[in-house]
């Protein structure tokens, strides 16, 4: 049924259709509305046969999910930002144990300085934890990816993160097709675990593995992700056949025909990028874009095939690998090894800074003129930066950076973006 819904509410409805048996929740902005909606659905009986557990931390949230999953229950939780980092140890553990937990990340920046707004620093920090990471462009896709995520996770016995841009998607109201219950039931069979804590067949799960086999166990984790490269498109096409719309897959090309400049990005900013590309195509620019849905596993071959005819690639990233550049660029550049195609990393949208059409248009025009560096920062205010560098030069005890910077720019209440 087509509805006008808040993203979080739509995701919660999608989760409920997947019939999770254990949902654990710890509040952190901006994912909170999702678990609030699930709590209500469990209380009213709309989501039956589900234990909703309010825990004392994100570390506990994922740990409860780990126990529940190992005992054979379909398990779900959601988090963001500091919460994801707080559960980091359990994030690696769930993947190492091969437990098919699905977790929503309401993508948000990581402090300090504390910041509640959107970027991808949180999920990027967990990119090597062994979870599959899928990034949603719209709330419709966010909902659809969760249904696909349970199927994928359980097929592989591997946990899946569905990354949804905090606020930009989680708090946005837009039209969303809520799938039919019978279709979801047919698409997603009940969870059939490959390992389970069972009194009739006792196993020990999670024992120590020494140098004699640790590498092999880790390699098998890698193999799961390689297998996911095949399964993700299969599941997306099965989804498309049943639900009559395209969602997910490994990558999503947009107007790549004869494109000389291709923009690569994750998540919701692909919408704005497409608008800008349409505008620029109308003016005769040979522009296209590639949205990466599956960041882990990283689809090297698909990315290479999509980009190989371009002259230059602009990689837009909402995450900064401090001291290097951007994590998405690492994968994209690897996929282009040996092609000689120029790649420009652009760090944008950190801590919720709006990525505007105007800024993107200026950026892409510069890219076409080959005026971009290897690493660029979109809309970086160098006056602010230089002011602080000056202060640091002048006095040893220059004080806390964030406070200095805010003092120097004055009140921000009057700004729209």
């Amino acid at each position: 049924m087509l509805q006008q819904l808040e993203g979080s509410r739509a995701i919660a409805q999608g989760i409920a259709l997947c019939k999770p048996e254990v949902v654990c929740a710890y509040p952190i902005t901006p994912q909170t509305h999702i678990v609030e909606a699930l709590a209500e659905m469990v209380r009213t009986g709309e989501l039956a046969n589900c234990e909703f557990i309010n825990v004392e931390s994100e570390f506990a949230a994922l740990s409860v999910a780990i126990g529940a999953s190992a005992a054979g229950a379909r398990s779900y939780t959601a988090t963001a930002s500091q919460g994801l980092l707080y559960m980091c140890e359990a994030v690696y553990n769930a993947a190492g144990l091969g437990l098919p937990i699905v977790m929503t990340i309401g993508n948000r920046a990581i402090g300090a300085p504390i910041n509640i707004w959107n970027d991808h620093s949180d999920s990027m920090a967990m990119r090597d934890a062994g979870w599959i990471q899928l990034y949603a462009e719209t709330n419709q896709e966010a909902l659809d990816l969760h249904i696909q995520a349970f199927k994928l996770a359980e097929a592989l016995s591997c946990p899946v993160m569905v990354c949804v841009d905090g606020f930009i998607l989680t708090h946005a109201y837009e039209r969303i097709e809520i799938p039919d219950k019978r279709d979801v039931d047919a698409f997603l069979p009940p969870y059939d675990p490959v390992q389970v804590l069972d009194c009739n067949d006792p196993v020990s799960i999670g024992a120590m593995v020494g140098p004699e086999a640790f590498a092999e166990v880790k390699y098998l984790q890698h193999r799961k992700q390689l297998r996911a490269l095949e399964l993700i498109p299969e599941i997306a096409s099965a989804f498309s056949a049943r639900f009559k719309r395209d969602s997910g897959g490994l990558v999503k090309p947009y107007r790549l025909e004869d494109a000389e400049t291709i923009v690569v990005a994750l998540g919701s900013m692909n919408g704005t990028i497409k608008d800008v590309i349409d505008e620029m195509r109308n003016e005769g620019h040979a522009m296209g874009s590639l949205a990466i849905v599956s960041f882990r596993p990283f689809p090297l071959d698909e990315v290479r095939a999509a980009l190989v005819d371009a002259k230059r690639i602009v990689i837009l990233e909402k995450s900064l690998s401090v001291g290097l550049g951007g994590p998405l660029s690492d994968g994209v550049r690897k996929s282009l090894s040996g092609t000689g195609i120029k790649g420009h990393t652009v760090i944008a949208g950190l801590g919720g800074r709006a990525i505007t059409r105007k800024s993107l248009m200026d950026l892409f025009v510069k890219a076409e003129k080959d005026e971009l560096e290897l690493l660029n920062f979109l809309d970086l205010d160098l006056d602010i930066v230089n002011g602080q560098l000056e202060r640091e030069k002048e006095t040893r005890r220059s004080g806390p950076v964030a406070e200095n910077v805010l003092k120097s720019i004055g009140t921000v209440a009057s700004r729209i973006a």
């Binding site: 004392e56 506990a60 409860v64 529940a68 190992a70 140890e89 009194c199 006792p202």
Partner: protein, 331 residues
């Protein structure tokens, strides 16, 4: 579970369960049909109190649960010595996730069983004092306050033994550990530090809290069985000597444990819904020296010039326990 003959090596102590008793009064450990949930062949040190405590407790719990039991285990000695893959000593479904999350993992297992209508299967979480009173404390407290249907058992050997004997919040005052060396003006662990997790557990008003000792098998098994008869969050804190960390002789494990109880340093009590309901009077009150002298971790208190002041401070702790928990034998 296969039936195996039990050899009564330890006749003469309390540990085997008194064979002179009527069969109905005998311990689970005395029973040839005990499950041996933590089976022989594991890698624990000689005289390991934790291995003993775990087998006592889990066998008793298995009997109470009709052999339908799942355990979540914190990282630590018990986890490491019991599961040198591909071997495992566990005869029950058992899971280790992390150091600090055993209580939460158990909550998850219990939730899964509930949603699947398997309330006949019971859930235990277990860990050492580090995994319980320190790094796992938040998860433990969360499990308590939600009153999740989990029995948490802490095997308290009073320091981080798996990493080489470092201080935990369960390390007693004056005890030498690798991070509270017997050096300086106040050697060993500092007085006035540490926490009493059984009392903190009681503050959550959970249905059942108990302390137990490997030196008192009947009492330990009775408490485990009582805990298993109750649903909701339950906590048993078992005192388990560590010959390696305490510097006691492996053959003295039960003797050391018994002196801890009989001196009043480790009081045995039970509490229900936050109120103490029973305590175990001292059978034969012992001075703290009898306990301390058996352990090299307290050796700096003795030697040529015994540190009478410090020993007196430890005796004062024991005396306070005896008064607070009513441990004096009834007249």
């Amino acid at each position: 579970m296969s039936l195996q003959p039990i050899k009564f090596y330890q006749t003469g102590t309390f540990t085997v369960g008194n064979r002179l008793l009527d069969e109905s009064q005998r311990t689970v450990q005395a029973n040839m049909r005990r499950t041996n949930s933590l089976n022989s062949g594991h890698r624990a040190c000689q005289g390991c109190g934790e291995a003993l405590g775990a087998r006592y407790a889990i066998d008793a719990a298995m009997q109470a649960a009709g052999n339908r039991l799942i355990a979540a285990n914190a990282t630590g000695c018990l986890e490491v010595f019991s599961t040198p893959y591909p071997e495992t000593s566990w005869q029950i479904p058992w899971m280790h996730s992390l150091f600090g999350n055993a209580a939460s993992v158990a909550t998850g297992i219990a939730a899964a069983l509930k949603v699947k209508g398997r309330q006949d299967v019971r859930v235990i979480a277990q860990g050492g004092d580090g995994g319980t009173t320190d790094i796992g404390f938040a998860c433990l407290s969360g499990m308590f306050e939600r009153n999740d249907d989990v029995l948490y058992i802490c095997y308290d050997n009073e320091a981080y033994m798996n990493t080489g004997v470092q201080r935990s919040s369960a390390t007693p005052p004056a005890a030498r550990t690798a991070t509270t060396p017997a050096a300086g003006a106040h050697p060993g662990n500092i007085f006035g530090t540490g926490k009493n997790v059984p009392l903190i557990a009681m503050a959550h008003r959970i249905p059942y809290v108990a302390t137990a000792s490997v030196a008192n098998l009947h009492d330990l098994e009775a408490k485990v069985k009582k805990a298993m008869a109750i649903h909701g969050a339950r906590y048993i804190h078992i005192h388990v000597p560590c010959p390696l960390g305490w510097g006691s002789h492996p053959s003295d494990t039960l003797k050391v444990a018994r002196f801890a109880v009989e001196s009043g340093l480790f009081p045995l009590f039970e509490a229900e819904h936050g109120e103490i309901t029973a305590s175990q009077p001292l059978r034969k009150k012992a001075p703290v020296e009898a306990y301390l002298k058996l352990q090299k971790r307290f050796a700096h208190l003795f030697g040529e010039k015994p540190d009478r002041d410090t020993i007196a401070m430890i005796q004062a702790i024991a005396d306070r326990n005896i008064e607070k928990f009513g441990l004096d034998s009834p007249p």
